[in-house]
């Protein structure tokens, strides 16, 4: 993210503007990825008219970056109708897709409409591995063909990979594929729990030693020394810092109109079918609660050695039962980085636990490109 965009995001936060919205148009998908955290059934998606109205409300509220995701966005028959309205309203539109349904005509239309970027999910450079993860034969071939078409339109494409046991051998292969295609590549080093809190899919994660190896590999993390340095004590300033953008200048809307602080933070703050977007943003008690979270008040984390450097995700902590408590997934990450276990992690390790909670949040650079995984990419 450019320094100016970050500065503008910060300015939006000060002004109380929801600068960045992630809108999932559907949870339906043509792929059935083994690691996906969504329920793919349609439980009553927002209609075309409801989405158009929502887009108008969001533009009026000052939303600038609009990420359209799913599920697979191209399964919505009205996708281009929605996108046209979004671009008429001059949103900076980013798309997350598996690209399987993108052919020449779709790529050309995306180019015409001035989409800012697309993130395409690729899990391996080998069809037998990628297709066994997506459960859609031929999906790798089609996704790659689509990436070429999108590039031919001059569109910015990023490949998003997720590290799992089944594809950990192929992370270098995916990097080489990205290079050949002339696109960036990100790696999310862990699978996220299901939105209903079910953690069974975390069993797909690699074990801790693989994660540690990746984090300490300079081709993945250019500033290894700094990133993996022993934690410094939290300053007064960091004690009062807020944890992330969720609810501060960013939020998430589900295909059913549910309003969450973030895609990875399923705390319902209202529904855009019942209230105006801006009213939820301004008045929701849940959002006010999220905005009040500071390191200083967190049980466990405020005394933790990792307090100042940890990428603690309040959404993950919420899914564990307490948005003001530790996120064991982040304790695991801090441990993988520094080799120092938090008290919470030690306590969890003492108990036999069915949970595997390795989930990395933010490693600045990976494979010569940025690792921006927040453990929550849906496509």
């Amino acid at each position: 993210m450019s320094a100016l965009l970050m500065a503008m995001g910060e300015r939006a936060r000060e002004l109380g503007i929801p600068f960045n919205v992630h809108l999932d148009l559907t949870y339906r998908c043509n792929e059935k990825c083994v690691h996906c955290y969504l329920d793919h059934h349609d439980h009553g998606e927002l209609t075309t008219a409801e989405i158009k109205n929502l887009l108008k409300e969001m533009a009026e509220a000052g939303v600038f970056i609009l990420t359209l995701s799913g599920g697979e966005i191209f399964l919505r028959k009205d996708f281009f109708e929605i996108l046209e309205v979004a671009r008429e309203l001059t949103f900076c539109v980013k798309l997350k897709t598996n690209a399987v349904l993108i052919r020449e005509a779709q790529a050309a239309r995306l180019g015409e409409l001035g989409v800012q970027s697309l993130q395409v999910s690729i899990y391996s450079h080998r069809p037998e591995v990628h297709d066994s993860i997506t459960k859609l034969p031929g999906s790798l071939k089609r996704s790659i063909a689509a990436i070429r078409l999108l590039k031919a339109q001059g569109l910015k494409v990023t490949i998003a990979n997720v590290l799992m046991r089944s594809n950990m051998q192929d992370i270098y292969g995916v990097r080489a594929l990205a290079k050949e295609l002339g696109v960036e590549c990100t790696l999310d080093p862990a699978v996220s729990p299901m939105l209903d809190g079910d953690r069974s899919i975390l069993a797909l994660n690699t074990d801790e030693s693989v994660l540690r190896e990746i984090i300490h590999d300079p081709s993945f993390t250019p500033n290894v020394e700094e990133f993996c340095a022993p934690p410094a004590p939290a300053s007064e300033e960091s004690m009062d810092a807020f944890p992330c953008s969720a609810g501060h200048n960013a939020c998430y809307i589900s295909p059913y109109g549910e309003f969450y602080p973030c895609v990875a933070f399923p705390l319902s703050c209202g529904n855009v079918r019942q209230q105006r977007f801006i009213d939820i943003w301004r008045n929701s008690e849940q959002l006010k609660e999220v905005r009040s979270i500071r390191l200083r008040d967190l049980s466990g984390c405020s005394q933790c050695v990792h307090g100042a450097t940890c990428t603690r995700c309040p959404g993950m902590a919420f899914l564990e039962g307490n948005m003001r408590g530790p996120s064991t997934a982040d304790c695991e990450k801090s441990y993988a980085r520094t080799g120092i276990a938090s008290k919470n992690l030690l306590a969890k390790k003492d108990k036999p636990s069915p949970l595997r909670l390795v989930q990395i949040q933010l490693v600045p650079a990976i494979m010569g490109s940025r690792l921006t995984g927040i453990g929550a990419s849906a496509s």
């Binding site: 100016l4 965009l5 503008m8 002004l15 939303v63 600038f64 001059t90 001035g114 800012q116």
Partner: protein, 106 residues
């Protein structure tokens, strides 16, 4: 006589008002700009139908104490700059509303 210059907002950019500023991201290279007050006036008035001279006269000279000729020269160079970045479309003829897409390949 100098030919009139018409300007229209490119439909390939993303834009939003943020406080007093207008934030614009060009499709070309995804470069982000914030528009200064003069650029904001020109941006808001760029309807494809009003010549630049008239915009300068009615929106800039009426607001600021400036020499009209100098203001027009400055505005021309600003508009050309914005056009170079793909933020505005400029033409010696009026620009139809639908023509903002597809003209600036990145």
């Amino acid at each position: 006589m100098i030919k009139p210059l018409y300007l229209a907002r490119s439909r390939r950019i993303a834009a939003r008002k943020l406080g007093e500023e207008i934030l614009v991201m060009s499709a070309r290279g995804s470069t982000l700009f914030t528009l200064n007050p003069t650029a904001t006036i020109l941006w808001q008035a760029a309807d494809g139908a009003t010549p630049l001279e008239r915009i300068v006269e009615s929106k800039i000279c009426s607001e600021y104490e400036v020499n009209p000729e100098q203001a027009l020269l400055d505005a021309e160079s600003l508009v050309e700059d914005l056009a170079k970045h793909g933020i505005l479309l400029i033409s010696e003829k009026p620009i139809a509303e639908s023509s903002g897409y597809g003209e600036e390949r990145p």
